[in-house]
């Protein structure tokens, strides 16, 4: 199972659950699985069929580069964090 840390803005949809365990082989499947558990999550995370531009996905402490297509290993930990930078 993939461990997903639920970011603050989604917790209204997850009844304040902070961690969800779902299965999936890539980010798209993980989000679909989350949607099954917590309806509305998918619409919050996606825009025009893509991960919203202000969200970065962190998989096992590395920023995912492939968006929804990023492969996810079986016991991975997945995190949604702000896409941010510096000067």
């Amino acid at each position: 199972m993939v461990k997903v840390r639920i970011p603050q803005p989604l917790r209204a949809l997850t009844n304040d659950d902070e961690i969800a365990e779902v299965s999936g082989k890539n980010v798209r499947q993980i989000i679909d699985a989350l949607e099954q558990l917590y309806p509305g999550v998918k619409a919050a995370l996606l825009k025009n069929g893509k991960i919203r531009p202000d969200i970065a996905i962190m998989l096992d402490n590395k920023i995912a580069q492939l968006g929804l297509l990023e492969p996810v290993s079986e016991d991975a930990e997945l995190l949604f964090i702000p896409a941010i930078g510096g000067g």
Binding site: Q8, D54, N61, Q65, L79, I81, A83, I84, G86, G87
Partner: protein, 761 residues
Amino acid sequence: MSTKEKKADDLRVVGTRPIRPDGADKVTGRARFGDDIHLSNMLHGKVLRSPHAHARIISIDTSKAEALPGVVAVVTGADFPVIEHEMVSQGEAGLADMRDIADNCMAQDKVLYDGHALAAVAAENPHVADEAVQLIEVEYELLTPLMDVRSSMAEDAPKVHEHSFPGFFIAPTEAHLPNASRVHMSSGDLEAGFAEADHIVEREFTSETYHQGYIESHITTVDWDSNGNLTVWTSTQGQFEIRDNLADVLAIPIGRIKVIPMEVGGAFGGKDRIYLDPVAALLSKKSARPVKMAMRRDEVIRATGPSPGTYIKAKMGIKADGTLVAADLHLAYEAGAYAGGPIFLGVVSSAARYNIPNFQINGFDVIVNKPKTRPYRAPGAPQGLFAMEQIVDELAACVNMDPVDFRIKNLTREGDILLPGFPLAPIDTDLTLNTLKSHPHYTAPLEGPNRGRGMSYAMWFNLGAISSARLAVNPDGTVHLSTASSDMSGTRMTLAMQAAEALGIEVSEISADVSDSQSIGFSMPTVGSRTTYSTGIVVMEAATEVLKQMSERAAMLWEVDVDQISVADGVFSNKSNAEQSISFKELGSKGRDTGGPITVHQTSSPESFIPGVTAHLVDVEVDPETGKVDILRYTAVQDVGKAVHPDYVEGQIQGAAVQGIGLALNEEYFYDKEGHLKNASLLDYRMPTSLDLPMIDAVIVESPNPAHPYGVRGCGEHSIIPPASAIANAIHDAVGIRPDSLPMAPHKICAAIKRKQAASD
């Protein structure tokens, strides 16, 4: 092919101090910056800017300007295509609404700050253009300006924008805060945390808007040719950002735009976005001639940058043993005239460096009638730390702990979970603080009245993100390195050094340049302390591929399998015949005979969120009669993983620390009540001069970053963060007051000393 894994102490090139390739041109005046372009038949453009902070544009009449002899073209907002409101990722520089970006280049319906562009003229020379601009007549309906975050967040504040700026982490607030969006992060149980605290300190802080202050203005030259192709010569941190912004704002295909990066005369985060470029493009299109536009200094200050002013309320609690147990931060940061300031970075940098089990941060991105904020070296961090590191100092004193020991007790270490939810990547955070504590400055006597010492500790993350590099082995066996990473401080050299290290050749064998947007693959701009680290990794990936292809050539020459070829220190050897070995240069010069020249182009995206930490120590002397603060001694310790070129690393630390000293003591935007900026010059915007500073002792420590082959961490931004809080702590040590407002200008210090005297009388 087999290569030997390099250990840090094996490095031949990395860690040395060769002279940079662009240096000779820079000391002889030959280096070509944005303003050094002179094209045949070129016109000069100038911009009309709003004198009002907030007004509706009723009408613009350009007829008199057009009639002035020498004027060739005039544009206004009406000449811009109408594009949709769409939130886009501005790369790692944050999010933006593309329509807002266009509107910032040229106002459409409303002007939103003193200095907002609303028309432009191209003429035969800059003086005529300047005169013509003054002939443009504009009728305004004045609106109420909102000049600070608290006014903008007031319940009765007028709404600046009709459109909202929906984000995922940052959400529009309730209806009564029409100009603010909110980001919220928390962990633990705040109430319980404060309940178990033995000491609690709560304070409020404010800070004013300040600017990046690069000495080179914003300058661009655009040629819209008769085929509809645009060539742009500009001074920028990212030629691809300029290209992509231009394509969006002008609604033209990316393929028609070529951006040629000139030498960059300083940027610090402020040159990753279009301002003049689309205006010059439209003037060029209208006039069918190339157009150069350069901002005057007052335009740079009025209409570009800056870093946000803030209002911060912070409450922190510790147990009697000095353990931090709870923190509650309210951070309200100016976004400027459009949404999307550095609030996330303020939140993340405030939260990262200490373990605080019960933590809440509410961050607000607040629209005000000031120029749209842009990233400035560790955006959002100095302001947050000005608050927190002073409270930390106060809490340490509550329990009589040494300030360094207090921080060591609470600091985050590798693997600790940070507030956004991810663990801290490998770094030896103790090393930096212990180094500061054992530095002679820490225990040096500090005698004399009104003198004090203070310290501060900061953590910042550097970006990875996409870079491209191309290595070409020349017919004589020398190597050319191209990247797309703008070089503002010597990165052509630090990248060439990494290439030389990886290839096993001397750095003098490598030439390096920064290519235009059509000559190399996409790269993120030079931001976020990423170039030496991230582009460096990509360069080394390319170098590995070069060695692989050269090994194949060696195998071909010696008629053996490639697995018989070993490479070490620039020499290819045949494992099966000890007699056969060949140097990189010799093999390279046989390129034509072994299958043609070798060129490797590499694009990839190294990891982000590489932490770096820095601890600063400062001695000050306060003149209690005038409130003036003088810096007597300054030491900055920074963990840079591995210093590729130690001189440049010291330069980054020193330069950042001095910018931090500037924003700490004197730099600020001064607006009158109507929102007119009153100090838009380098006379009254007071950046530090050489006479305001001592030598800055930059101490490099190196705890290797495992994500980089040589252990490199980004180092460019970090040291701007601690100075304000370190100086505030030193002022407290000197005269017993707690500065609560940036900059710590003499009149504020004076007033605080008076208040303290009055209270003790």
